[in-house]
Amino acid sequence: MPRVLIVDDHAFVRRGVQNILSAFLDWELCGEAGNAADGIRMIHALKPDVVLMDVSMPGMDGIQATREVRNADPQTKIVLITLHESVEVLRSGFRAGANGYLLKADAEEELIKALRIVVGNGSYISPKFDPHIVEQVLRDIQAPR
């Protein structure tokens, strides 16, 4: 059963995610953190399969946290969850090692799909982004630097 951990400073978002996951017997929410520093510690301790990581948090942001988690626990998949429909933030997220980018605007209907794709070793990007842009971002990330 894949284990999920959420890092988001908005308690109501964490509660919403918990509520969605509680309806699916094949997912377990193993922990939650309200800031990046606590999140990183918890990820290291609990070793979840997937982390839902908010981008904008006070202190360390989710992109930096993603970088740190991918260095310390490279097997951990990370889905960024964010308000920002920005190609630049999307690009930064994937460059930092994120496996998915989920928008809060469609998180309710896309959450489980995002988690399934990422746990299956795929990359997930919200359907609100133009498919050509998505293709370009994924190509750029995979290109040798």
């Binding site: 109501f12 509660r15 919403g16």
Partner: protein, 230 residues
Amino acid sequence: MAAGSRPSPGANHGALRILIVDDHDILRRGLREILCAKPGWEVCAEARTGKEAVTLAEQLQPQVVVMDVSMPDLNGLEAARRIHKALPKTGILILTMHFSDQLVREVIECGARGYILKSDADRDLVAAVDCIANRRTFFTSRASEMLLAGQAAPTCHVEPTVPLRSRLTSREREIVQLLAEGKSSKEVAAALGISVKTAETHRANIMRKLEIHSVSELVRYAIKNQIIEA
């Protein structure tokens, strides 16, 4: 419960009835989860926009409305103003991402009884709704200090940003938001069901009243006054 939904028959009529308003489904789900866990509390409906909130509030007359400040088309403060005017007994709690002194003033002025941050804990939401349902206010400690110092009391001397905004009509404030969101006069007219000429007249009046001369100034004004988010 889907947004814009009505209460089911056989709902608990003795319950504290709460309307929740936020344009993010996942956030409404979280709010609902927390509020419905409290015995005797019931989320009677959900709204995704400020306009939907005003319509549902008028129809259902909830005791409490929990409303996000930033929503497209009609923001939470403007919706709160309209709900308060129609239903002065309904307690309104504003949800916001950021604290600001300006916001405390705006919240009081629009008739809401308090606000909490989205980063506040679940228990703060419960405490806030409890206070507001019992006709008390709920503000964070910093906001409370401001109130005690008399800086945000409705009867006190107003500061420069307030008089400018207070010169705008409710319709004009609605149009400020649409223009600041990047809509053209034609799109504003279509959204509000008015003629393009009327939309342009409103736009000219707004610019004159606010003493601004460009759309970028209008956007800055809208961000500063919590009409849209940066």
